[in-house]
Symmetry: C2
Subunit: 202 residues, 2 copies
Amino acid sequence: VQPLKTVPEPVTRLIDELSRLPGIGPKTASRLTFFLLRASSEQATALADALRDLKARTTFCEICFNITEASPCVVCQSEERSARVICVVEDPLDVLAIERTREFVGLYHVLHGAISPMEGIGPDDLKIRELIARVAEGSAEEIILATNPSLEGENTADFIRRKLALYPVRVTRLARGLPVGGDLEYADEVTLIRALEGRREI
Amino acid sequence: VQPLKTVPEPVTRLIDELSRLPGIGPKTASRLTFFLLRASSEQATALADALRDLKARTTFCEICFNITEASPCVVCQSEERSARVICVVEDPLDVLAIERTREFVGLYHVLHGAISPMEGIGPDDLKIRELIARVAEGSAEEIILATNPSLEGENTADFIRRKLALYPVRVTRLARGLPVGGDLEYADEVTLIRALEGRREI
């Protein structure tokens, strides 16, 4: 018997496209595709529309490279924000996290990742050159390097710190220590060492 | 400070839509969204198009409920296939797996899942009623219950077997035993018991 092509091309194509996403293997891609086949047309359409709008209706801010519907973004355009402090983060969601604190009144700079030789991401793949240019031309007095407290984040902060040594700006890093609400006995050693190093008089 | 809405609506909407997919939590949904933001427009569009085509260009076969571009499907329409044997499977990918053997010349019936009280899937959520009707009206002589060798698959096969007891058809189940190329010492007990039970003279 000749095996028949029992799976239509649109199905295999969606499985292929989903498999191209990071962390989605062929098995997960199949599972998602068959879920969508059985889901309502509305759900599949809503997802397709959201995908299309993601690219059609967003852009990167020409100043800070955060995602925005119109460039410059709301933060860069706001008259209530101070251009003297720039907080450098890896991702747009980091901006959201810092905004939620309601404590930061400066501007942002989104790198779009961290230096990672393992994943083939070098300084030129990030918005580091643009940050240096912003510092060179702008009125920033302090650069807060708020990259993640991970190996990649530390390396990225270190790389930028050395690049910024040429400019008359204060370069700071977010404090490391015990998370509020955390439990001392469950803290890892490195966090505990940093918490001791950074201890403050009360 | 009033926190600013720094993440545009199309971004949060895509995160929300992706989070509705099974096995995709908010963290994975964010990661995928930010990956797509940085990916080429072509990749996002290809994925959106594939999603749209999945619903627009496929349908279920009115006879066997496999996915197809046109109903009835290629298998049900083929004059080389025998209507005397119907192989009942859970998913369209199971049809593909059996077609690849090039050994099966009968027709299929796709249940679209298995009975699973845990997931709230009952017999009426599957194409079981349609299978019984097919057997009642058709010329099938043997029904091969090729549901998965899992708890849900076994329960589903058992449920269907009892329903089919009223009709003059042979009801069979795929053999259980050691997988070809497998290693006896690593076989689980249940598989080994089934392999012993099903032993054949050589």
